[in-house]
Symmetry: C2
Subunit: 223 residues, 2 copies
């Protein structure tokens, strides 16, 4: 049985969970707070970051969400999520990385730092300026997703792919933390509403991170 | 003919160039300074980052070094660099990302910022504290590579892989900028000396970034 080391608001773990869900692969959650830098966790992943996917019986330890997703894609035929021509696959990977790096750096990471890490670890209040800046950046980045969805059925093209799962994972964390202003983003909103209704997404939306409550619309497919 | 948008000290472009070289794929260099944020370049890649690999005749535009490397691996059989079992491939990808994210964030990016961007763009001198910190981080990260090479022939295991190319690319940029103290890193030094002798690496080592000179040992396989 796979065990996924993660915490509820880790967007990279959410991406992996959505992929596991779509592929119908069973797994157990192991709660890990990487900021605690537990020795046993550093032994597992010297970079000290979630997610880590472990199959203890086989001695398999998979690290880095992109490597985990490629592994699952290569080993499980069900629900291919990096498919099509080599050019299609490059576009799926480009947008997945865009979410993991650009959206995360400009929106997810500052939202998590200000609203989660500062609260849980440092017992500080968030910096209003940093929150404003992250929301502003999110607005610009959602414009880009709107633009893509004006031209395509799914983010990377004609088929549902890992790029959609990655975007939904990152957006859901930012949305939980109050970092998304949905006004003026009809295309992305419609697409995200469809994502929220998927069976792979329901368990994530019903989880809560202690102390921090999401806005009322957070888990509603109709919002 | 492929065209690679890059500049001489972009480690992600170097990784792609090493892979193109190993696979024997011809390409042309197009000089791009992403900090200038040229409109035509932003049109090509909305994230405004190098590398971008373009085949103008076919209208193919590949963005994100990881997506480019996977594309080349999928389309060119020569010199497979992400090979072996699914677990081997996951390890190759983990270490490639480790270089691209951890080594770059802690060593390459600060070295480039302090010694290249500040000089070329802001006409400022580097911050000595930031340089010291990057070198200290580099020392700790090279210890990890030493440890891997104590147990393995190549970074990701028994075969030469993309992880070796990625590590060589990132180390070469930090080394150019004077950020690597080789003392005490015999394993990594021996491995890197082998890498430097490869035909794929020679053209990179002979290039210079204007205004900035590398240390004397930089391009010598024996150092
Ligand atoms: N590239 C990594 C990023 C993982 C990551 O940044 N995880 C965060 C939690 S969302 C973490 O563990 N941060 C702790 C740290 O960086 O020390 C992946 O895709 O798995
Ligand atoms: N994840 C990207 C990273 C590329 C990257 O950060 N490139 C740097 C140059 S080494 C860049 O263009 N920076 C300009 C910017 O971030 O605006 C890749 O692997 O291609």
């Amino acid at each position: 049985m796979w065990q996924l080391y993660q915490f509820p608001l880790c967007p990279f773990s959410r991406k992996v969970r959505l992929l596991l869900g779509e592929k119908g692969i069973g797994y157990e959650l192991v709660r890990e707070s990487p900021w605690e830098k537990r020795d046993e966790f550093i032994d597992l992943n010297p970079a000290g970051r979630t997610p880590v996917l472990v199959d203890a019986e086989r001695g398999t330890v998979l690290i880095e969400s992109a490597a985990i997703c490629e592994y699952l894609e290569e080993t499980v035929n069900q629900a291919p999520m990096i498919s099509g021509t080599a050019v299609n696959r490059a576009e799926i990977r480009r947008l997945t990385i865009w979410c993991d790096e650009i959206f995360h750096a400009e929106v997810g990471e500052p939202m998590m730092r200000e609203r989660m890490v500062k609260r849980l670890v440092h017992r500080q209040s968030p910096d209003a300026g940093a929150l404003r800046q992250a929301m502003k950046a999110g607005n610009v980045l959602l414009d880009y997703l709107d633009y893509l969805l004006d031209h395509r059925t799914w983010l990377a093209g004609a088929t549902f792919s890992l790029a959609d799962l990655a975007a939904a994972a990152h957006i859901s964390v930012a949305d939980y933390l109050g970092g998304i202003d949905w006004r003026g983003h009809e295309q992305t909103k419609r697409w995200y509403s469809g994502l929220k209704s998927r069976p792979s997404f329901r368990p994530l939306l019903s989880e809560r991170m202690e102390v921090i409550s999401p806005p009322a619309h957070y888990d509603k497919p109709d919002f």
